[in-house]
Assembly symmetry: C2
Homo-oligomer: 231 residues x 2
DNA sequence: AATACTCTGTATCTACAGATACAATCGGTG
DNA sequence: CACCGATTGTATCTGTAGATACAGAGTATT
């Protein structure tokens, strides 16, 4: 197989802690399926045999889940270096549960899940790191999802917002910070309509709980915000 | 260490596929911390050093997460044989992010995460299975959370219910089925108030979309229900 | 610098779902 | 069989958040 992709993969979370030189031998040992896809091309459809964990070597793919009713639900974008399909693969599913589409011309690599567990002598030294990385990827995904569920279960836009803002405050260690996404995206993330969120922010500014300008926010009355969040 | 616990652990998902005799040597090799807790006793508080993945050998524990605002949010119960803390442990967190309380007199076992990756010669044969099980546990957790997020993001009780009912129909391969939880629990799971859900079910019965009696449900107009779900 | 284009703030109207209270039914227990 | 507690069905009222529309501010592009 072609080994021109190692530079792109050196920064991939899955290969973190593996020296580029070792990555070389690891990949030759794994001999994974590597395939080129044109923009818009479908790499996998629900029901297709799941041959391995996907890695975006270059480009970007989109994952579209469909539920029992057949309507598109969860949508996510996977960028260079990130993995996809690992949840289904390690849960023992033998078929793709979602549609994978190339958003741009992309090169994808597929590694059969058993390879991660295999006892090839040459790769054995890297298995430990590789497995550790995969456990970390899955765990961090669970943490992200847990956090999202926590937000979605909060009733009322104001408590939802306050909880989110307090989390940002914790992350930045400051009462003044820049939102990590646009207000529209934030509204989508919290699953509320953008005008409703905007209205609530406006009211909270009137009440001197906070101030904001575009994406910058300053919390003025942290105590009251905490009370609202825990209501 | 005491090895009286192997029977209880034989059915644990983490040790699935490992022969009881092998489990014996595995545990002696691991030499994990095992501790007894009285009902109501706190096994770990947020900030405590996270020494290992927890396993409920006997009894039952409760996991209570708290968010930035300091109010209890996600609550889950871990029964005999199940693991807890694995997400935090493998995400590299060194401290417990939640409160762990014994709901009954319980025996807990803690295995340092590195042990799963270690290359002890004696246990090496089981490592593969053990790691595979852990990957499966994490993946299935991600799947459950994904599904929950999908439900929570649906706006409107009726589409939410219809999506859920169609999923049950898929699982049971029948238009008539018994709900896997009480209506109150279902309402909580879907994050709607119980009377609101009851009202919606009543209306849908009036409209001849479905019929129900307590926990049994019969879908009468699957096509319309699918249309509602994908709205 | 002029232009599109996206993102944001604001207003009005309406509908949906929550809170609450109470009755009916179910299920377990003595 | 009679009791009690838990679960479920139903009604009314109210408040909140969604939909929609539009104006203004920001930011890219040429």
């Amino acid at each position: 197989m072609d080994l021109f992709y190692e530079d792109a993969l050196a920064t991939a979370p899955l290969f973190e802690g593996i020296h580029p030189a070792d990555l070389h031998s690891l990949l030759s040992c794994f001999n994974p399926l590597v395939k080129q896809y044109d923009k818009g091309e479908i790499a996998a459809s629900p029901g297709d045999p799941l041959t391995g964990v996907g890695i975006v070597v270059s480009g970007e793919v989109e994952i579209l889940h469909e539920n029992a009713a057949g309507n598109k639900s969860l949508l996510s974008f996977i960028e260079q270096g990130q993995t996809f399909g690992e949840v289904a693969a390690f849960a023992g599913q033998t078929h793709w549960p979602a549609t994978v589409t190339a958003r741009r011309d992309s090169v994808l690599m597929f590694i059969p899940p058993q390879r991660f567990l295999g006892n090839c002598e040459r790769a054995c030294a890297f298995h430990k790191t590789l497995v550790q990385n995969m456990l970390k990827i899955l765990s961090e995904k669970a943490i992200r999802l847990n956090k999202k569920v926590a937000y979605l279960e909060i009733k009322g836009i104001r408590p939802k917002l306050c909880t989110y803002l307090l989390e940002q405050r914790n992350l930045t260690h400051s009462d003044t910070f820049i939102l990590p996404m646009s207000k529209s995206e934030l509204a989508t993330y919290l699953s509320v309509s953008r005008p409703s969120m905007s209205r609530e922010l406006g009211l909270m500014r009137q009440e001197k709980l906070l101030d904001f300008y575009l994406s910058s926010v300053r919390l003025l009355d942290v105590e009251s915000i905490q009370k609202i969040a825990s209501s």
